[in-house]
Symmetry: C2
Subunit: 197 residues, 2 copies
Amino acid sequence: MEKSECNKKLLDVATQLFSERGLHGVSIRELSQAAGASISMISYHFGGKEGLYSAVLQRQFACFAEIHEIRERVSDPVEMVESYLRWTFRRHRDNPYLLRFYTSELTNPTAFFSTLVMPVIDEVIVIMAKAIEEGQRQGRFREDVDPTNAALALAGMVNYFFLSSLATENLISHSPERDEDLVQQYLKIFTSGVGAK
Amino acid sequence: MEKSECNKKLLDVATQLFSERGLHGVSIRELSQAAGASISMISYHFGGKEGLYSAVLQRQFACFAEIHEIRERVSDPVEMVESYLRWTFRRHRDNPYLLRFYTSELTNPTAFFSTLVMPVIDEVIVIMAKAIEEGQRQGRFREDVDPTNAALALAGMVNYFFLSSLATENLISHSPERDEDLVQQYLKIFTSGVGAK
DNA sequence: TTCGCCCGAACGATCGTTCGATAACGACAG
DNA sequence: CTGTCGTTATCGAACGATCGTTCGGGCGAA
């Protein structure tokens, strides 16, 4: 039998509201009303408000597993950096709520941080650090920077663009049409820096 | 007459608790109990829970004004980048709660975001973008990157190090003794990139 | 009839705020 | 010096509102 629509509708609505105001900022009454469902449906389908939140979190962070496919497909270190940048842009574009849960959990971790969030973040950082380390072994990357730190710097550059968008929307265009241009700019900065040759 | 200690104690306790769990995650009962004060003191001194939160926010973001002194003291673009990096490291070290309010407001903005948070963030980005632009005019920085975007990339690199610390604490050392080393690494990456020459 | 799915009233707990009482203290008049 | 008054800081009980959960029942398909 098909699992009813109520379930999916609740997940969708909860994704938006939780991302906007956090776990404690939304009540189950507002949640269920926005989903056109009854209050008790949240406890019925998800075992309570926290259960719904964890279901949202799981669906949000599922996409991070894609990094493994990228790593399998791409072997060249520089190309790996470019793929990571493009993948991250697309990830945020496809899912405008992701970054809110991402940083919300990093700064105000809930009970699900250590089981649902931290593992997938670490996986990405470790994989990128390994790619950079391989680049160093190949003589393509300078060896006087720590690979993990370089991976963090890369992730920071691109994620911060979306993180700061609420504050900088009148300073810089956040239109998706600029994405590929930005990918190239970040790639340039990361590999060659902003210094004139 | 001296303003009582109750006021200051409430501010200190609220800073920690709000940073850990957000505006909606803490009750005034827990707040006042942790401060050793009565429940009614919050409404009495700050006009309510939100008033206390805004007082905390104001005190947190006051330090961003220091960027103006730095800009007055430093004229060389590269030196300005280095000063920004060192200043940001010290800012986060001196105040471990700052980044939580910073990102919490960026992802789950409260009513005070547009008046207390956004203006100071924009100021820093604009000042750094101008410094980078000047570096381009001097021929020290390449001209094919957008100054504002470069400023965002710089801010992203260093802020993300602290933002991700909860997830990456067993991947990389976050000891303050490494700070100067990290400043130099970020400076290197930003000005020269990770590419081998 | 049975079994998922769903409803909404009801419950106890907790929320933020308000209010009357109290104590300490300086100013001032007698 | 002393008694009174107004101000300020603090308390805790009480209030109405809202919180998340539970529960008895209704509905439709098997």
